[in-house]
């Protein structure tokens, strides 16, 4: 299949306009394509509706998984369904855009430019494209749309991406520690003013869409509003004494995320890179009560090995990017717990 790179940022003429307002949009074949071990499909949806704790309906967007056995994942999931593959597998992520162009950037995964999902240096997907990648490192990543990212990421177009070692889930990396309990904590904040319908291209052609002003009102962990995070099983952790608990933490908010745990935690991996794999780094202990801070898009893998039974508190604080204060006049907090039986 012939690919016309001139129709993309790879060989096309890059101008001020092709950066955003008039970005390259194509549905090319995948260059250097090889047979995949895994094929993943993601279809854009723009139909999500949250029922917020204060009784409002707020729209969100995302990626559905047309191949999922779970009905909800085929319609309008939030966050978008987990991508979980193994180290060394050749993966094709097939994106089906809807009536507007989108992309998938596998954040922290480092493929070629064409497979990286950034429109102004390659192209946005008009109808369909298969992103090709072969993860070299096990760890915690995520994926998100990179069109008008400021808006589309906030609108909910992201999901987790986990690369397991060849042994599969339950082992951090080949030859590394095992874990018996795993929890994904995705922190997100929502400014409902940004979630007005039909604003797919808001601001792209120079109009002032107010996208420099972010005032989040809602705070979620792994898709759960913060009024429910204490008990919801998508967030709260239950483990037996002797279990090792792996927390995969992503800050998908536009705040600085501060996590405080009532139990010791060992930072074993950051941004999909195992600590101790190279002689210039090593795992880091956060004693109970430490303030663990993550900037936007950071991932921390925390290994918790409780030494006693009990209920341990967990607090997430969303801090403003300028003032450093807890967002929404102090309301930008979510809490949950780790129960060890």
């Amino acid at each position: 299949m012939v690919i016309d790179f001139k129709k993309t940022g790879v060989k096309g003429k890059v101008t001020f306009s092709t950066f955003g307002c008039n970005v390259f949009q194509e549905s090319p074949a995948t260059p250097d394509k090889i047979r995949p071990d895994v094929v993943i499909e993601r279809a854009v949806h723009t139909d999500g509706r949250w029922n917020t704790p204060d009784g409002k309906r707020v729209r969100y967007w995302g990626f559905a998984d047309p191949l999922s056995p779970i009905a909800a994942d085929r319609v309008a999931p939030y966050p978008s369904p987990l991508i979980r593959v193994r180290q060394g597998q050749v993966v094709h992520t097939k994106l089906k855009s809807k009536k507007n162009a989108h992309t998938i950037h596998h954040h922290g995964i480092e493929p070629t430019t064409f497979n990286d999902g950034v429109g102004h240096v390659s192209f946005e997907v008009q109808t369909e494209y298969s992103y090709q990648w072969q993860p070299a490192h096990p760890g915690t990543f995520f994926y998100h749309c990179h069109r008008n990212t400021v808006l589309h990421f906030e609108m909910g177009m992201f999901g987790m991406l986990i690369v397991d070692p060849p042994e599969g889930p339950g082992t951090l990396y080949s030859g590394g520690p095992t874990y018996q309990v795993e929890r994904i904590w995705v922190a997100d904040d929502v400014d409902p003013r940004w979630h007005i319908p039909n604003e797919h291209d808001a601001g792209l052609c120079g109009e002032d869409a107010g996208l420099n002003r972010f005032e989040p009102k809602y705070f979620l962990i792994s898709g759960v509003f913060n009024n429910k995070t204490m008990l919801d099983s998508r967030v709260a952790v239950e483990a037996k004494l002797g279990d090792r608990i792996l927390i995969r933490l992503l800050n998908a908010s536009y705040s600085i995320l501060r996590l405080t745990l009532g139990v010791d935690a060992l930072l074993v991996s950051v941004d999909g890179r195992q600590l101790g794999a190279e002689p210039w780094n090593s795992p880091k202990l956060f004693p109970a009560g430490s303030r663990i801070e993550l900037t936007t898009a950071s991932r921390f893998d925390l290994l918790i090995t409780p030494t006693q039974r009990g209920v341990f508190g967990v607090k997430f604080e969303f801090l403003h990017w300028i003032t450093g204060k807890v967002q929404a006049d102090g309301a930008g907090i979510a809490q949950t717990r780790i129960i060890v039986k």
Partner: protein, 384 residues
Amino acid sequence: MERRKFLKYGCAAAVAMPAASWPWAALAREVESEQDRSELHISIEPVDAEMIDGQIVYMLLFFSEDGKPRPVLRVREGDEIRIEISNNDTAPHGFAIPGIPAATSELIDPGDRREVRFTAPVGGSYLFFDPTKAPLNRILGLHGALIVEPRLGTTPAGSPTPFSRASQTPALQALFDALGTAPRFPGQKWKPGDPAREKIWVFSQTDPTLNARVASGQSVDPASIMSSFLPRYFHINGLSGFDTAVHNGTASEGIEAAEAIMPEGKQGQPTLLRTMNAGLSTHSPHIHGNHVMELSENIANGAIDVRKNILEVDVWRLSPLARKDMLLPFERPPDIPAAKWPPKEEPFPLRYVMHCHTEMSQTAGGGNYPQGLVTHWEMTAPIE
């Protein structure tokens, strides 16, 4: 108003960081040469600067002696440095460099000049700025980078680094020794003194409302700034979006300014990124294509802390006044299928963006994505 310079970044003489600011001669000297003196002159000037969307914004900037805005000051560890600062603005200003207490000037009255004298400290990246009415004058534009070259920057095994031997950690030495040696890093060691292997990214934000208030002569209470600061423009070395990189062999605001930002090289040409935040908002610079190693950070008194535990990250936190030196290894992007390296159908250069993930910073004037804090880097060829 007429006293102000009009600045369309990069046009004609107004090119940030020209190649001439690199001390080629200094770098060619013997490592253990005699102590030297360096004399630097900079001035403070009001300017009307054009933002990426064409808006004109009043700013205050430092200029070099030869009339170039945003000069990068480069000195050598141990040298006796004298910096003379002329204030060509109508308000009093000051000068300071966190981590170098002796480099603090007295208040400089309008039309006056002051000097600071200090011995250049250990190698690393420093940020100078006007500390008066903090943070006001700094965020109006009065800030810049001071780079200190180490007198002895090699590891005991002989690998060049940007840090003085005495401040190196075992982790740093292990990393720089691995470049060009370990199977993961075929290619070259880091190369000091090569502008292609070292980029300086000074991040800043502009809230034009605040600048306009100052321009119109209103007095601004510095303590009120943080709670009302609403930046609309986000810069790397004063540039934004399209202007920060070389496109099709040209750059909209001058090739030198764009080349000073955009890393470019072959696989195996590790490049130092000196990242600093002169502004008021926290940034989350995120780089595609390679993870980067976080080498150093400033500590509370402004001194440089070389990491004992060097993390490999794809995003790093850059708080206001933070300075972090990162290493972009230019390694083979690890998740390209091994059977397809180097790619055959997809041509080089491979082009990867660097953008701030605190996404409000990707805008200009409230929209215009991505004309904010974004650039890209290019891998021009594989090693073989």
